[in-house]
Amino acid sequence: MQIFGSPLDVDPILLTLEVASISTVILLLIGTPIAWWLAHMRSRVRIFFEALVSLPLVLPPTVLGFYLIIALNPNGEITQFLRHFGFEGQLTFNKTGLIIGSVIYSLPFTVQPIMAAFEALPGQVVDAARTLRASFFDRFFTVIVPLARQGFIVGAVLTFAHTVGEFGVVLMVGGNIEGQTRTVSIAIFDHVESYEYAAAHSLSLLMLLFSMLVLMLVYALNRSLQIRQD
């Protein structure tokens, strides 16, 4: 496939989609309990945890990446701890590193929409399910998740899109290794550095169209769900 007369880099595109998909699944699994916990926290420490979850929004990505490679380095405590359980690999400069970085960096994009959806749940319905003696898991999957689906969809789509577009964290934690950790945004950076503007433009155009499509999808879903709820 060619755009602007230069071949499209397939490897970075596949890698980016893979990392974004895995990160989104992981984030839905860990973001949902965090969102539930935050939405039901009544004490004042809640504002502390809310701020903590939102930190990746304000921290410069390269700074976050820098501290991640220090924290996750092969001789660091986290890796050494995992060695006790037979872990032999490395947490940085490979796909694992890209996923860890993406999960931390995109956390607020998963948690915030889901938390907002949990907070908007009609109390009576959840209480009614409880009076019918439905177990927590039963209530959660048959009542709460369907009611909060809008939050889940928006959270998942935003997380995926945000992970696709990240640069600073993956450059640092991944190490921009050709064919291994070079994502689309880093490939664009490399092309610009070597004045390969046609190749940079084609990747950027693809990213632009993709992002536009994703965001339109989010807004369309938001609307159709709102209409149905009204």
Binding site: F66, G175, G179, E193, S194
Partner: protein, 262 residues
């Protein structure tokens, strides 16, 4: 297919004498972003000659340095300065340091006649912005400050807040190339690269080499490497006449002592 393997076999045979590792090997080389193009070309030539493969990781020198300190799986590091390779050698993390290229600074403008009138243009300061690389982190920035001090215009330009800092020499070049800064001190390599968007556009002036501290770029082999023989072969090739020619073609100088220093 047969022809291809015969060719590969022939090349391998030819270089088996000079290489201890006759089997094809892959090394990962971390390269300062400003050397991207030259590195790719040298890597291709080396791969063709030896049958080995090279994978590149491009990034800012400071970022690559932090990554090496934290276990990045690089075999060779081509930095944009000598400070970071030196620190790695001192920390026992790298070895075989040598200067592989020397950067040349150039005052570039798309609109102003800087080739003949650089001094009067800088003195008049009749422009909105002059771009330089951040002098604290980039050797090209420190060189730009030295050149302006030599001409005697630095205090005035600084007082008038005409100087804008790019976070790297690439960003500095982009400031000037896009016209956001009317002129700037960039790397000569950015202007003479055959693919450069600045080729045949505007004017540049090359200050005398003695007016600023040399912008030396050093290479090292990472000590932890599991591909030491192949990494050495790449570093040896980096000093070969073939590689030197590529490096010079991209606007870098080769320091005289480069082949003796080690």
């Amino acid at each position: 297919m047969k022809k291809l393997s015969a060719a590969v076999l022939g090349t391998t045979f030819l270089f088996a004498a000079s290489l201890s590792a006759a089997q094809a090997d892959t090394i990962t080389v971390a390269v300062a972003a400003n050397f991207t193009k030259a590195a790719e070309q040298i890597g291709q030539a080396w791969a063709k000659e030896t049958g080995n493969k090279v994978r590149f990781s491009f990034g800012p020198t400071g970022g690559l340095f932090a990554q090496i300190n934290n276990g990045a799986p690089f075999d060779v590091f081509l930095a944009a300065d000598t400070r970071r390779p030196e620190l790695l050698v001192k920390a026992g993390k790298a070895t075989d340091k040598f200067v592989y290229a020397q950067g040349t600074i150039a005052l570039y403008s798309k609109t102003l006649p800087v080739t003949a009138n650089h001094a009067s243009i800088l003195k008049a300061a009749d422009f909105a912005h002059l771009a330089i690389a951040n002098p604290k982190s980039a050797p090209y920035g420190a060189a730009a400050v030295a050149v302006m001090q030599k001409i005697g215009v630095y205090p005035n330009l600084q007082k008038q807040k005409k100087i804008v800092d790019g976070e790297s020499i690439s960003a500095t070049f982009q400031f000037v190339m896009t016209g956001n800064a009317q002129l700037g001190f960039v790397a000569l390599s950015q202007l003479v690269d055959p693919a450069s968007p600045a080729k045949n556009i505007g004017q540049y002036w090359v200050p005398p080499q003695n007016d600023y501290p040399p912008i030396e770029q050093a290479a090292v082999m990472i000590k932890d490497t599991k591909h030491a023989a192949t990494a050495r072969s790449f570093l040896t090739y980096l000093r070969s006449p073939a590689a030197t020619k590529i490096i010079q073609g991209y606007g870098y100088a080769i320091p005289k002592n480069a082949n003796t220093d080690s």
